[in-house]
């Protein structure tokens, strides 16, 4: 392994001296903070988007009933929280000289024509922007409500959702009144039972809170694992192609064996990414010490990350990177042009994207049988085993077995990549899967 140290030092230090490298640390921190605070960020903008005005039309009795329900202190509080204001809407003039007056057919029993002026006014209000939505509501003796919701466009799902929430609450209150149910009975009918969740592992903390915290942390770690492995292995390929396409490699390889060169590049990239993520982790740790980072509506403190979990993450970082780096190094040794890189690496990247998607599902069902089976397959192990360890129940022997299998696979792939690398690193022929297959079978070489 003569020359290994020189190649490692140069590759490692030249990356660390690159300002773009440190800019990417900032981007990682930014990305993690953005995704983990997404809900807070969305809420921030929702809170500042102003009041939603919903016009209410219908018979005077129905409109009056709705406004009366909305006047209840509990409903008032809810509407304020949602930044919603309800406003009765009547037409300017009706046939028969009833200008400005509400139609006198109450309870939804009057002719439809009597509602037309109010409907026209609602439409005009929505069109002008004075109203965000106009709801023509009809109440039934049972307390059930029906109606038509008019909005400017059909794509504002958030507004429709808000209208539904308001009227669901109003309907519930109306029904409770008609049935003579008290608030506790209503709560018993519609609210989930207020259980306190405890586990044998947990201490005094609420288990649901623990679960939210664990899912949040796991989500962050899976995201980082994914970015780390894809980024590290991808950088390795680009580094190899850059040195090949510039022919710089021809100055290096007379003095260092291809195998030493490959190992130096793989480990230098690993070092570069470990430093990068350690720097990002320290910044995130500092941020989380100052305040909590929110995720999925739960609050958690990154500084409370269990150390053993961090250790597993690091182990899976390294083994996962080595597994994918071996594949990428083998592929990269046969590519001499940057434009061929995507064609050659996409299938491997897609495999890992698939692992990431499955890991996202696995966050909510870490002990599902498909997660358990797939976590044994080395391409999926880094992400799925981490999810299982963090959120599920996995025996020690199983962890040892899966990690051992991943380590063995990575070692076998590295040995294979080394042989291919030695033969193909100075090949400048265009990339093709056929040639890759020939090279794997030892039928192609420089």
């Amino acid at each position: 392994m003569r020359g290994f140290g020189a190649v490692f030092r140069f590759s490692f230090s030249s990356k660390l001296k690159n300002p773009a490298y440190w800019a990417s640390v900032g981007m990682i921190v930014g990305a993690v903070l953005f995704f983990t605070n997404l809900e807070t960020i969305v809420r921030y903008f929702v809170d500042r988007q102003g009041e939603t005005v919903i016009g209410i039309g219908g018979t005077p009795a129905d409109v009056q009933a709705v406004l009366s329900l909305a006047g209840d202190p509990e409903m008032q509080a809810m509407l304020e929280r949602m930044h919603v204001r309800l406003q009765a809407t009547f037409g300017p003039a009706a046939e028969g000289g009833k200008a400005g007056r509400a139609p006198d057919a109450a309870g939804g029993r009057g002719p439809e024509a009597a509602l037309e002026p109010a409907k026209a006014a609602g439409e005009a209000g929505v069109a002008s922007g004075a109203l965000d939505a106009y709801v023509e509501v009809r109440l039934y003796p049972s307390g059930r409500m029906t109606g038509t919701v008019l909005t400017k466009t059909g794509t504002n799902a958030s507004l429709n959702e808000r209208v539904t929430d308001v009227f669901q609450a109003l309907q519930r209150r109306l029904a409770a009144e008609r049935l003579g149910l008290g608030p506790e009975m209503v709560s018993a009918l519609v609210d989930p039972p207020p259980f306190t969740y405890r586990t044998l592992q947990g201490g005094e903390e609420d288990a649901r809170e623990q679960m939210g915290l664990a899912i949040g942390m796991t989500y962050v770690m899976v995201l980082l694992l994914y970015l780390f492995i894809v980024g590290g292995a991808g950088s390795l390929v680009m580094e190899l192609i850059r040195e090949k396409s510039s022919r710089f490699i021809e100055l290096v390889l007379p003095s260092v064996s291809p195998l030493a060169y490959m190992w130096a590049k793989i480990l230098a990239m690993l070092g570069v990414f470990v430093v990068q993520y350690a720097a990002a982790g320290l910044i995130l740790y500092g941020v989380s010490r100052r305040g909590t980072v929110t995720l999925f509506g739960d609050s958690f403190d990154l500084s409370k990350m269990p150390l053993d979990l961090l250790g597993y993450a690091l182990l899976l970082f390294v083994l996962g990177y080595l597994f994918y780096a071996a594949i990428f190094a083998a592929v990269g040794s046969m590519i001499a042009r940057v434009e061929e890189a995507n064609t050659a690496t996409t299938p491997v990247t897609l495999l890992f994207v698939l692992a990431f998607i499955i890991a996202m599902w696995a966050l909510r069902m870490p002990d599902a049988s498909f997660v358990r089976v797939l976590s044994w397959l080395p391409p999926f192990t880094p992400l799925l085993l981490f999810v299982r360890i963090a959120l599920g129940s996995v025996a020690g022997w199983e962890i040892a077995g899966i990690v051992g299998l991943l380590a063995l696979s990575a070692a076998a792939l590295l040995a294979f990549a080394g042989r291919l690398f030695r033969r193909m690193i100075l090949s400048y022929e265009p990339w093709s899967w056929r040639r890759f297959w020939q090279a794997m079978r030892g039928e192609a070489s420089v």
Binding site: R2, G3, A6, V7, R9, F10, S14, N18, R242, E243, S245, S246, R247, F248, E250, L251, V252, L253, P254, S255, V256, S257, L426, S445, V446
Partner: protein
């Protein structure tokens, strides 16, 4: 202390790139591998450098097979130049120097000295990509010789250099030769290497078609040519008039003495003779026709030798 190559062969699929090459390059001499593009020069050099595995043959340096350790004694300037353009000049040189076994400190010291010598002292901390192409070539040359190699391989060393830098590199190569280095030089530009190489092999389709010194190759050519110019012809107006052409033809006819093989008449007349004695007769005849300004034996250029060899082979 020589580089010895014996029976070297290499094929790429059905193409035989190198087909049984033998030569020995000795210290203090410049050995040329000359040939057209695709003759097998670069493949031969790459096999010596260990970049390509030979199918057959032996390569020995100082009597021993070349290995990773001994290859560190080789300096290499590749045909297709490339440096890490993102790195700084000094960093690249120190990196390549340490790969050859220098300590980083020594590599830095030598890099600084070479950069000063090539007028690039101020560019030490600049990124390679900010240098002009000519200066990048100089940095690459420095990378090849930084570790004071005993064997230096130059593959098309003048490609990409302007005439001023060509002279600079030639001078440096002569310096290396004077220091006793073994120098291997590959080129398809015969005119640029003619004055440099001490010995050479001419390659065609992976095989050696001629070998020896330039003088020996010339001596082997059975054609003796002289160039002749009279004062009145040299001083005549440049314009090529019918009268001038008639006069050249008349004098050429007068020169056709026994032993003259051919005459190319013109402002400068080229006479091909059987031997140098016939040339003396030609000179005397020329003097009888007017005042002779130039009468000189024409040595065939390396390019002409190469073309003649290629024609003979084909």
């Amino acid at each position: 202390m020589a580089l010895a190559v014996q029976g070297l062969k290499k094929s790429f699929g059905a193409v035989r790139a190198v087909d049984g090459i033998d030569f020995e390059a000795r210290p203090g001499r410049i050995f040329g591998l000359l040939g057209a593009n695709g003759a097998g020069k670069t493949t031969t050099l790459r096999m010596i450098l260990g970049l390509v595995a030979p199918d057959a043959g032996k390569i020995r340096w100082q009597g021993r097979p070349l290995d990773e350790k001994t290859r560190r004694e080789i300096g290499y300037l590749p045909e297709e130049r490339g440096l890490d353009e993102q790195a700084k000049v000094e960093e690249v040189l120190v990196y390549l120097g340490t790969l050859k076994g220098l300590s980083p400190r020594e590599a830095r010291r030598r890099a600084a000295a070479w950069l000063e010598r090539f007028g690039l002292g101020a560019a030490r901390r600049r990124k390679v990509k900010t240098l002009s192409k000519g200066n990048q070539q100089k940095v690459q040359f420095i990378a090849a010789v930084l570790h004071d190699p005993a064997l230096v391989i130059f593959d098309e060393p003048f490609s990409g250099f302007d005439p001023v830098n060509v002279d600079l590199i030639r001078e440096e190569m002569q310096n290396l030769k004077a220091q006793g280095k073994t120098i291997l030089l590959s080129s398809h530009r015969m005119d640029q290497v003619e004055a440099l190489v001490d010995e050479l092999i001419l390659l065609r389709r992976g095989r050696i078609v001629r070998r020896g010194t330039v003088a020996a190759l010339r001596a082997a050519v059975p054609v003796i040519k002289y160039v002749l110019e009279w004062f009145d012809e040299a001083e005549a107006p440049d314009e090529e008039t019918p009268a001038a052409r008639a006069e050249w033809a008349r004098r050429a006819e007068a020169l056709r003495v026994p032993g003259v093989r051919s005459i190319a008449a013109g402002r400068q007349t080229v006479v091909e003779v059987e031997d140098d004695d016939v040339a003396q007769v030609v000179l005397r005849t020329a003097l009888s026709l007017g005042r002779v300004r130039t009468f000189a034996r024409l040595e065939p250029t390396l390019h002409e030798l190469f073309v003649a060899a290629m024609q003979e082979e084909s």
